[in-house]
Point group: C2
Chain length 339, copies 2
């Protein structure tokens, strides 16, 4: 059938077959490929040559079984179209590879199903789990802790003894946004958040309202919508339609902000920032483009990743490091969507 009859046509050769060809024991082959030192150069070469000839590659699955770890690190992310998000995922994947591990990628349609997904993840005996923008249940966190699998929740504020949480200080950012608006003379506020990232949006809203309260302002139009450009437009439409006079809108995501801006300009013929000022969140690429020039918040993603991976690698090396919540301050990137 096959044109190739060498050894075992259709499956990858094992170390045993390499050993046979190189005339050494299987253990020696294993030693060569697990990078041990006590090997005579001559035999090492003979083994490598035999391996080359057979197209041998160590079986990571089998290795995982004996070592009781897979070298896999899971990324669990909610399924959302968000440029900022995809940048994050790529960065996370890259860091995992730099840790000499492989990213096992799980997409989670609804946050409700997160526990189910993690349960699946655990079947792979991953070395660690990074959850993006979703909350891990207390029960699941306890279970992971019990079997010594480090979990980092990234970009979602949760308090949980057993897991590491790395997150932006969203409450403070909201507070900063309000103060920034106020300092520029704006007085009639609106907030557009997303129910896709509900917790995060709520935190930003809380900080926003806190600051307004400090200034003696109670009124603030609030819309919570899906995280899309269109929904941003729809939200501002709701706000503007009912004769509610606002002159400043804080959007808990650039995508929402861009949708709102275009609606403000093209549907209502209003000027930004003269009629309405806008602040966004995430500083996605498009925020800096001339048609928008959106003032927005930048998160310290790289520093957050440093913390995440410092924690993970310490855990993986068995070094002591304690869990907790690590908050990072956001920075306003000033452009021209606010006076």
């Amino acid at each position: 059938m096959s044109h190739n009859k060498v050894v075992n046509g259709n499956k990858m050769p094992s170390s045993k077959e390499v050993a046979l060809l190189a005339q050494v024991s299987q253990a020696t082959v294993s030693r060569v490929f697990s990078g041990q030192t006590n090997i005579r150069e001559q035999t090492r070469l003979r083994v490598l040559e035999a391996a080359e000839k057979l197209g041998y590659r160590p079986n990571a699955i089998a290795r995982g079984l004996t070592l009781n770890r897979s070298n896999l690190i899971a990324i669990v992310s909610i399924n959302v179209v968000n440029p900022h998000y995809n940048v994050m995922i790529n960065k996370v994947a890259d860091r995992i590879q730099k840790l000499a591990r492989e990213p096992l990628y799980f997409v989670c349609s609804e946050e409700k199903k997160l526990d189910e997904i993690i349960s699946q993840v655990l079947q792979y005996r991953v070395d660690g789990i990074i959850v993006l923008s979703a909350a891990v249940s207390t029960q699941m966190a306890a279970e992971c802790e019990k079997i010594q699998i480090p979990v980092v929740v990234f970009n979602k504020y949760t308090v949980n003894n057993n897991i590491m949480t790395v997150c932006s200080d969203n409450v403070k950012a909201g507070w900063m946004a309000a103060n920034y608006f106020h300092s520029k003379g704006y007085r009639n506020y609106a907030f557009i958040g997303s129910n896709t990232f509900l917790g995060t949006s709520k935190d930003r809203l809380r900080g926003f309202k806190d600051a307004l309260f400090e200034k003696g302002i109670e009124k603030c139009e609030v819309q919570m919508v899906p995280y899309t450009y269109e929904a941003g437009g729809q939200a501002i439409r709701e706000i503007l339609s009912e004769e509610k006079k606002i002159d400043a809108v804080f959007c808990a995501g650039d995508m929402l902000a861009l949708g709102a801006m275009d609606t403000i300009k093209y549907e209502y013929g209003l000027k930004i920032p003269e009629d309405i000022a806008v602040i966004g969140f995430d500083n996605i690429d498009a925020a800096s483009w001339p048609p928008y020039s959106l003032t927005t918040f930048e998160q310290q993603i790289d520093k957050m990743l440093d913390t995440t991976f410092n924690y993970l690698s310490k855990k993986l090396n068995g070094e002591a490091i304690s869990e907790g919540v690590e908050l990072f301050e956001c920075k306003i990137v000033e452009r021209s969507s606010v006076l």
Copy 2:
């Protein structure tokens, strides 16, 4: 030390431990969890109860070893910030999960290193490999074929007997773009492609030039730049700076097109489409936003994914299906960046 002394504090229980508690053999536990039928309901429940009590989860790694397949499907993608791309990756991941497999995600910084990455992928004895926008070497393709691992190259035209290629008909799309421009009366052309997706860009350029040639037009300014918004701007700057009169530019990617458009409008004060018409590629979200309203090409991503996963699942089920190149036509989405 630990507050929990049940069985084996810090590692996940095995089927053996479950068997012990349920007073059955390990084989029976295995049978319950691999969904076999010949099990008395009573014992099945006893096993499930014991498993529940111990927090047992089958070890996918060990299962992979015996079955000689991991249930993993690798996604190998080049590292690029491209919204269209991230949408694709999410869709691919989702389909993999629907196939009851898990996506193992590899990011490849340079296309040169693809073979190296695939070599790593193969260590995990993945059930299949999906390569996005990168070419697999003939040698590597042959190797994968030999060990019966199906490979699909998505979104990159390559001819290779051993792998399945699913790709848009880029040559034809380029040809369509030129004809579209020409039918609207434009006569002075430029092309901006990306060296990040060089092969794809070249194909689109070839079709574009072919059509121009048919019309008796030889001249066409060409720029090949990295796939970014900024590079798109820089490219059009190069084209416009040297007194080269052009009135139509075809960009092999929306990101490039948006960058070019903003530069045309805000730096040169020219009007789109009156002074210069623009066609993009991919139909990313931003292309439809009012400031751009970009006429662009839409790829039949879902149909392409259908073909990809139909091929994969047939291969995985051992059904016969032959490799080959499957091309999909692109569709122009007409907006107002062309007269």
